[in-house]
């Protein structure tokens, strides 16, 4: 365990508690995205309500974890790797909370589409595939955080490109779809929103991966060009 050298056992368990709560929150967001994607695939209204409901729990996790971080800083004045963990966690929960918002957005857009009574949804399979990719990315980044595996986090950052490519491909195909049949515009716009939300989930996962590297190595890898895919990263907002 990384935090076993402290004299106070309580301090150790505080830190471990924060970390495991972040991961619990991540698991909740993970299931929320999966549910949102299923809403989009099946039009299950109950599930849409459930996604919105989960978002409330995600938000309360964020508040609780932030509070716990403030407490540790005030009471223990953490240094070195403990400080890095606390700083990174407070950024990770923001990313996770936004990911939850994106999931909610997907469910809301799916509801719009099904309310309109459209049964044929163009590029539905592609969008769901991109969604699966994004969920897998988030899951792996959370695994990397649990295992403090910086190598895995670096691989995940490189893979964000795949989701960006999927997004561009979907948009391109949707454009031709609209040109053929302009009546589909409103549905297509909703689908673009969903695809964009998925692409954002990928970005958030990437941000979390960067924080995992920061926890492990203490190096800030944000906004730095990586030679493995040869282009500068998009700036995380």
């Amino acid at each position: 365990m990384p935090h076993s050298e402290h004299l106070s056992k309580q301090y150790d368990s505080d830190l471990e508690d924060i970390r495991s709560r972040v991961l619990q929150m991540g698991g909740l967001v993970e299931s929320q995205i999966l549910a949102a994607i299923e809403c989009f695939g099946t039009g299950n209204y109950d599930l849409m309500a459930q996604v919105t409901d989960t978002d409330r729990r995600v938000n309360s996790y964020e508040v609780e974890i932030d509070d716990a971080c403030t407490h540790v800083i005030a009471k223990r004045q953490p240094a070195a790797s403990d400080l890095r963990l606390i700083m990174a966690v407070s950024k990770i929960v923001t990313d996770l909370e936004r990911t939850g918002d994106e999931a909610e957005k997907i469910a809301r857009m799916a509801k719009n589409i099904y309310d309109r009574g459209r049964l044929q949804i163009p590029r539905s399979a592609d969008v769901r595939h991109a969604g699966q990719l994004a969920v897998a990315m988030l899951r792996r980044v959370l695994d990397a955080m649990a295992r403090l595996d910086a190598g895995e986090a670096e691989r995940i950052i490189a893979e964000d490109v795949a989701i960006d490519d999927e997004f561009r491909g979907i948009v391109r195909q949707l454009v031709t779809f609209v040109m053929e049949d302009p009546r589909t515009i409103s549905t297509v716009l909703d689908i673009v929103w969903i695809a964009k939300a998925i692409e954002r989930i990928g970005d958030h996962a990437k941000n979390i991966a960067e924080q995992v590297i920061y926890i492990v190595h203490g190096t800030d890898v944000r906004h730095t060009a990586r030679e493995d895919h040869g282009e500068p990263d998009g700036a995380p907002q």
């Binding site: 698991g27 695994d143 649990a146």
Partner: protein, 433 residues
């Protein structure tokens, strides 16, 4: 008094005696000097032994126990005996531990040992596959950090007896695991994962089956009862209309009858493990029989030909007849008018193959593995209108299973399909040899 003290006293007495003797001869000073010299030598010898003991204690595994004389020798021998006992005990415990961990490793279920705070202490290989754990690397991690399924943390914290949690591992599509947490020892826990994919699937199949049977029976029954209601309320005076209505009812009743008959056949085949009556019969006769039946069903809309070499087959003629005729009637149903159907008997490496080849609509590849499921339909509307019960291929599959034969399906959509029943060599005799 321990022997070490006695021998020390004896030695000291000997030294004193030697000192006295030398002192008496060469003077007191020389005597004292000699006594001191001997004492010094003894001290040196002790220190040397102590040094050897220390050296050996630092790495007892690498060298044997050093030899020594006197009291030191006894100490070394005792030490050596103790070490040997320890080694034996340790080997026995290690062996027991090894057997236990091998047994846990051999378990078909995933096992994860957790400590009081739910950190992973040990996990077997099955659990690595089930839960995506990484063995040694994940030891010491919180299990709830790695399995983040909502509700799992509460589940593992309470570890209620008899409670189980269904888990669909994201890395392995379509698998369903049942998780159980058991408390043991002092506040330790054991997390067990069972693969319940098959059970879940069987449950789905059973549910689907009941729903399908009800649906298939209800449709014709609705038609019949609708007409009967009509006949009771407002009997038609026109005998031609009456005849028309009755013939529709007859048709629907026939459909229900076929369905029930197929269901009975299927359950009979499933129930009886043994073939009812094995006989050796002429395959050609059987194939000509079913082809004639196929021609009647087709009513001249297809060209049905046979290509058979003389052969005898051992098995239940009645059951195989029903299987073969199901294959032929399927071909007739799914081949558009004017298509060709070829019935063939051939041998390949001694195995007998009955195949029905048609130029029909074909089957998309993704449906092929599920074709023999009861009521599985590639195209719902189409197959019901063509009069199938949805049980034909299930019957074929079960009959062939009872004859240790297998069903092979090859199909290209739009070109045609080939259904082949492949019989093991020992069931086939060819007159030519």
């Amino acid at each position: 008094m321990p022997s070490v003290w006695i021998s020390l006293l004896i030695r000291l007495a000997a030294v004193a005696l030697a000192g006295l003797v030398v002192g008496a001869i060469f003077g007191a000073a020389t005597g004292a000097l000699v006594a001191c010299g001997i004492l010094l030598l003894m001290l040196l010898a002790h220190t040397a032994h102590l040094a050897r003991l220390q050296r050996w204690l630092k790495a007892p595994e690498q060298s044997d126990i050093p030899d020594a004389w006197g009291a030191w020798g006894n100490v070394f021998v005792d030490l050596y005996r103790m070490l040997r006992r320890e080694r034996k005990a340790r080997a026995r415990i290690e062996g027991d531990l090894e057997v236990f961990s091998q047994a846990a490793e051999a378990s078909p279920d995933g096992l994860v040992f957790l400590d009081a705070d739910d950190h992973i202490v040990w996990c077997n290989r099955v659990s690595e596959q089930h839960l995506g754990l990484r063995g040694e690397r994940d030891v010491g991690l919180l299990v709830t950090n790695l399995i983040r399924l909502p509700g799992f943390a509460e589940f593992i914290a309470s570890a209620m007896e008899g409670a189980s949690l269904l888990y669909r591992p994201p890395e392995r599509k379509g698998r369903v695991l049942s998780l159980e947490a058991i408390r043991f020892g002092k506040d330790r826990k054991l997390l067990i994962s069972f693969d319940v994919t098959q059970i879940e699937r069987a449950e789905t199949v059973r549910r689907d089956f009941v729903a399908n049977v009800s649906h298939e029976l209800r449709t014709p029954l609705t038609v019949i009862s609708g007409f009967i209601e009509h006949l009771v309320d407002d009997p038609p005076h026109n005998p031609r209309e009456l005849k028309h209505q009755l013939s529709i009812m007859d048709e629907q009743a026939g459909r229900m009858l076929r369905l029930v008959e197929d269901l009975l056949t299927l359950s009979r085949i499933e129930e009886e493990a043994q073939l009812p009556r094995e006989e050796e019969f002429d395959v050609r006769d059987l194939i000509y029989d079913v082809s004639a039946e196929g021609r009647r069903l087709s009513g001249g809309r297809h060209s049905i030909t046979c290509e058979v070499i003389p052969a005898f087959l051992k098995g239940s003629r009645e059951e195989l007849r029903s299987a073969f005729s199901n294959l032929v009637s399927n071909a007739v149903r799914y081949t558009p008018e004017g298509g060709r159907i070829l019935l063939r008997w051939a041998t390949r490496e001694g195995k007998g193959i009955f195949s029905v080849e048609d130029s029909g609509i074909g089957i998309p590849e993704e449906h092929i593995p599920r074709l023999t499921e009861r009521f599985y339909r590639v195209d719902r509307g189409r197959s019901r209108e063509s009069g199938g019960t949805g049980l034909g291929l299930s019957i074929v599959k079960h009959v062939l299973l009872r004859h240790q034969a297998s069903l092979e399906i090859g199909s290209i959509p739009g070109v045609g399909s080939t259904f082949s029943a492949v019989f093991p060599a020992w069931r086939v005799t060819s007159p030519q040899g």
